[in-house]
């Protein structure tokens, strides 16, 4: 394709090469046309100004748009600035009002010409973002009159991303204006096909009636290709959203999996530990905002250990204060922790108020990048990384530290572990603290994508249960698999069933799944099961 376009580009370059002096002369010639004082003369003057490529061109056209362009019979143009005037060609202020000054008259035809001229000028704007937007605008409008300007812009373009869009715009114009050669049209179809999005699809399916059959066939084939690609991208996109949801579920559920796995305790206040973590982030950010704004990008790094400590300490207090009296009575524990969650919610509501609190994204977490048709927001991306990081860290703690060893021993056989000299009450307390602390750091992450309100925890608690129950108790891998498979399944169901129905289907699936495997995907075997 490049090879086919190359001669065109070369000719265009040759046309553009004339030196600055020649450019200024062209501008003067064009400005002289305004003196003709007829609409057709004005229109050719506008075209001339644009074609001159002079840097004054945009100002002149904008002045015309604002009805501030004047001319004198001797072929000079002036722009009204405030109460004085400046020379349109040079931009220099004129000391006294020129004689026989007349305003350039405007009608609808001229207004359209001005609009087209502005589009063309923006195509050449020094700002790449503006050029990109202008090229996109031409792609959408498929305005045949901007073809010439577009080709000039393509020749002069250095930014490959902008150039691609400009070429697509040119292809769109060629395909819709009619009268282009079959070869050009075929090349254009290819360019559009490579664009491969919904706009390209609508362009190709709405080609004008007089398009040659060969081009129509090519377009048909291109539509097939684009549809295939779009289907693929939607799968990729669902998978990405699913991963993102899965990572959130993983963060919310992993602490629960630990406490449930080791102690057989269902901690209904787990969601509130997440909420405490989120509010810790809020408080840290508030202090940074007022005391040390330059630290803002580090706010999350500061909040992480604090959230872990706050939630972890609250967890240990809960364990020592309430849960340890209820061992062997899991149902009562469930009720007591539920009561605790109500108290924590109401306490936060009383202290911070019932409304959502503002937690900001640090600069490295805001924004998005695009890979093909997939938009990846940085906060989601970092949360996936973070969730996996937490998971791996936890796995290492359980595997390689003596605390982890004791925890695993208590999980497998509490009585035997106790007989071997492990202080099971302390393991329980610290396990509960660890699980709660992890919920706290999950809260730091979730504060970046969710509303920080007293109800934050509630919205995660049922989902986290589902993950733990689905994945199986006492096995972190089960939680990982459970979180990601539920997240991805949810997002793949959404396009077909809608968000709510998709969620209902997942819940029904889990209820049925529990019947088949009452202890989850990765069940502990042996005596621990009957505990």
């Amino acid at each position: 394709m490049i090879r086919r376009l190359l001669p065109v580009l070369l000719t265009l370059c040759a046309l553009l090469i004339p030196a600055a002096g020649a450019r200024a002369a062209a501008l003067d010639d064009a400005l002289a046309l305004f003196a003709g004082d007829s609409y057709s003369a004005t229109e050719s003057a506008i075209n001339g100004v644009v074609a001159s490529g002079d840097e004054r061109a945009l100002d002149i056209i904008l002045a015309l748009q604002d009805r501030k362009l004047y001319f004198t019979p001797d072929g000079k143009a002036f722009i009204k600035v405030g109460s004085g005037y400046e020379d349109a060609a040079t931009g220099a202020a004129v000391p006294e009002e020129p004689a026989d000054l007349k305003q350039v008259r405007v009608n609808n035809r001229i207004r359209n010409a001005v609009k087209a001229a502005l589009g063309a000028l923006q195509l050449m704007s020094p700002d790449p973002a503006k050029r990109l937007a202008a090229a996109e605008a031409v792609f959408k409008s498929r305005d045949a009159s901007s073809l010439e300007a577009l080709e000039k812009a393509i020749a002069a373009e250095t930014d490959p991303a902008v150039k691609r869009v400009q070429e697509q715009a040119r292809a769109a114009v060629i395909l819709t204006m009619g009268g282009a050669s079959e070869e050009d049209q075929l090349a254009a179809v290819e360019v559009i096909r490579d664009r491969g999005d919904v706009d390209a699809l609508s362009l190709l399916s709405g080609l004008p009636a007089d398009t040659p059959q060969s081009v129509l066939d090519a377009a048909q084939k291109a539509i097939g290709v684009i549809n295939g690609e779009l289907a693929l991208w939607s799968v990729v996109q669902n998978a990405w959203y699913g991963l993102s949801l899965g990572s959130v579920l993983l963060l919310a559920a992993i602490g629960l999996a630990i406490t449930f796995g080791v102690m057989g305790v269902i901690n209904m206040a787990h969601g509130e530990m997440v909420m405490l973590g989120a509010y810790t982030t809020f408080v840290v950010q508030e202090i940074i905002r007022t005391q040390a704004p330059w630290l803002f990008d580090w706010s999350l790094a500061i909040a992480l250990p604090l959230a872990f400590l706050v939630a972890g300490l609250v967890g240990i207090v809960i364990e020592r204060g309430i849960i340890r009296f209820l061992y062997g009575r899991p149902l009562e524990t469930l009720l007591a922790t539920w009561g605790l969650s109500l108290i924590l919610q109401q306490a936060v509501r009383t202290i911070f108020g019932p409304n959502n609190r503002q937690v900001g994204n640090p600069s490295w977490m805001s924004g998005a990048t695009e890979i093909g048709n997939l938009t990846i927001t940085y906060n989601r991306f970092w949360i996936i990384i973070f969730a996996i990081g937490v998971f791996v860290l936890l796995l290492l703690v359980l595997r390689f530290t003596s605390f982890g060893l004791q925890m695993r021993a208590v999980t497998q056989n509490r009585a035997m572990a106790s007989a071997m000299g492990i202080r099971t009450p302390w393991v329980d307390a610290f396990t509960f603290g660890l699980g709660s602390g992890i919920a706290g750091i999950a809260g730091v992450a979730l504060s970046q994508i969710d509303n920080v309100s007293p109800n934050l925890g509630q919205s995660y608690i049922i989902d986290s249960f589902m993950v733990v129950v689905f994945g199986g108790v006492g096995n972190l891998w089960g939680t990982l698999v459970g979180a990601f498979s539920l997240g991805i399944a949810n997002k793949f169901l959404e396009p077909y069933a809608g968000a709510v129905l998709g969620k209902i289907l997942i819940l029904v699936f889990i209820i049925l799944f529990i019947q088949r495997r009452p202890r989850g995907l990765f069940a502990l075997k042996g005596r621990a099961v009957e505990a």
């Binding site: 009575r329 009720l335 029904v508 209820i511």
Partner: protein, 382 residues
């Protein structure tokens, strides 16, 4: 089992007191409301009648949970779903009774369906214009759901917290489903603006007093039914299951059938409670399905005393009275109070009010006669 024994079988002093108390309430409140002048000191104001009536339906709901939790060890965190389903069945009948008196005046379609541009009644609304059919659905729908759900759950031996969690998932799924407008149950507004029941105006004092009496009667009947169940052989097996499920199974009992039976009966009772609740409160909406509601029911039972049927009723009335009082007097305190109640009851008073009193009595021999009713046992490691 003849009717006489059903009424009197195993009747002891406690049951008699409970029966007399509820019956007295059921007669006194309507009579004092209708028969006495407003200036009289014993007059019961009209606003109190549906309020106390609501407590009675809550008592019935608590009874249904108390039956399965206290005597079969099944902790359902989804009983609010059965309550709400019964309520919706009654609500659908009441909606059909509105007829062309709705805002849009459509003789067949309820207002929200006209609003959503529905052209005809969905099939599952057929028959709800007939009161007997609606009554049948009030018990059948929750019963059928409990039967299917329980059959799956108990057959595969899902027990303990796992069962609690999936019952919670069930009510959560129903909550989401009933929020959908497409379901045809009024979306998040639910069903409301009811006019009359069997031709009686729902706003009239007489109708309200009648509903109150009906609630009291249903509560009595349900109480007797539960007593009869737990006093029968089935009830003995259920208590055995609660205390040692595996052992009962090894003794040759089909544990799942017993659990399924009592779970289904309990769901039906909850459905009846919902059906009595809706006309007295005047609205049913999906928030009744919320998991938090269902957990609250459990705490009523825990406060009153797990393993005592009258404890469940007492707990429901007390906690809800506190709720009415506190949400009016100090709304911020209510959640602290409720949360504190959950913790205090489970940690300090695991047998609830009735159980604690009972214990106190047995420590003072001679003051009270020893009881004959089956006593709740400490449940070792479920």
């Amino acid at each position: 089992m003849n009717f006489g024994r059903f009424i009197l079988g195993g009747t002891d002093r406690t049951a008699l007191i409970v029966l007399v108390f509820i019956l007295g309430f059921g007669i006194l409140v309507p009579v004092l409301n209708l028969m006495t002048p407003e200036s009289s000191p014993v007059h019961v104001p009209s606003y109190l009648v549906p309020l106390i009536g609501k407590y009675l339906t809550y008592g019935l709901l608590a009874l249904s949970v108390g039956l399965i939790w206290g005597y079969a060890g099944i902790l359902s965190l989804g009983h609010g779903a059965f309550f709400a389903l019964g309520g919706y069945a009654m609500g659908m009948y009441l909606m059909r009774q509105i007829g062309d008196r709705g805002v849009y005046g459509n003789p067949i379609l309820p207002d929200f369906m006209v609003f959503l541009n529905w052209k005809e009644l969905p099939w599952y609304w057929y028959g709800f214009d007939a009161f007997p059919f609606a009554l049948l659905m009030v018990v059948l729908v929750p019963g059928a759901l409990a039967l299917v759900f329980g059959w799956f759950a108990f057959r595969s031996r899902v027990t303990g917290v796992y069962l609690s969690i999936i019952t919670q998932a069930m009510t959560f799924a129903l909550l989401l489903a009933f929020f959908r407008n497409d379901m045809g149950f009024g979306g998040n507004n639910g069903l409301t603006d009811f006019k009359d029941l069997l031709g009686f105006d729902l706003q009239a004092d007489g109708t309200r007093a009648g509903l109150f009496a009906a609630s009291a009667v249903m509560l009595i009947l349900a109480y007797l039914l539960c007593r009869w169940i737990i006093g029968s052989k089935v009830g003995r097996v259920l208590i055995a299951i609660r205390d040692a499920e595996s052992r009962t199974r090894f003794l040759g009992y089909r544990v799942e059938y017993y659990k399924l039976f009592v779970f289904t009966v309990s769901a039906m009772l909850a459905g009846i409670a919902g059906a009595l609740y809706v006309p007295q409160v005047g609205i049913i909406n999906p928030s009744e399905f919320s998991p938090a509601n269902s957990i609250e029911i459990v705490i009523w039972v825990a406060v009153g005393g797990r393993g005592y049927l009258h404890g469940a009723i007492l707990g429901a009335v007390l906690v809800n009275y506190a709720k009415t009082y506190l949400t009016g007097a100090a709304p911020d305190i209510w959640l602290f109070f409720l949360g504190g109640l959950f913790i205090a009851v489970t940690v300090l008073m695991p047998k609830g009010i009735v159980g604690t009193l009972d214990q106190a009595k047995s420590r003072l021999p001679g003051l009270f006669k020893p009881k004959a009713a089956p006593r709740a046992q400490e449940v070792p490691g479920e």
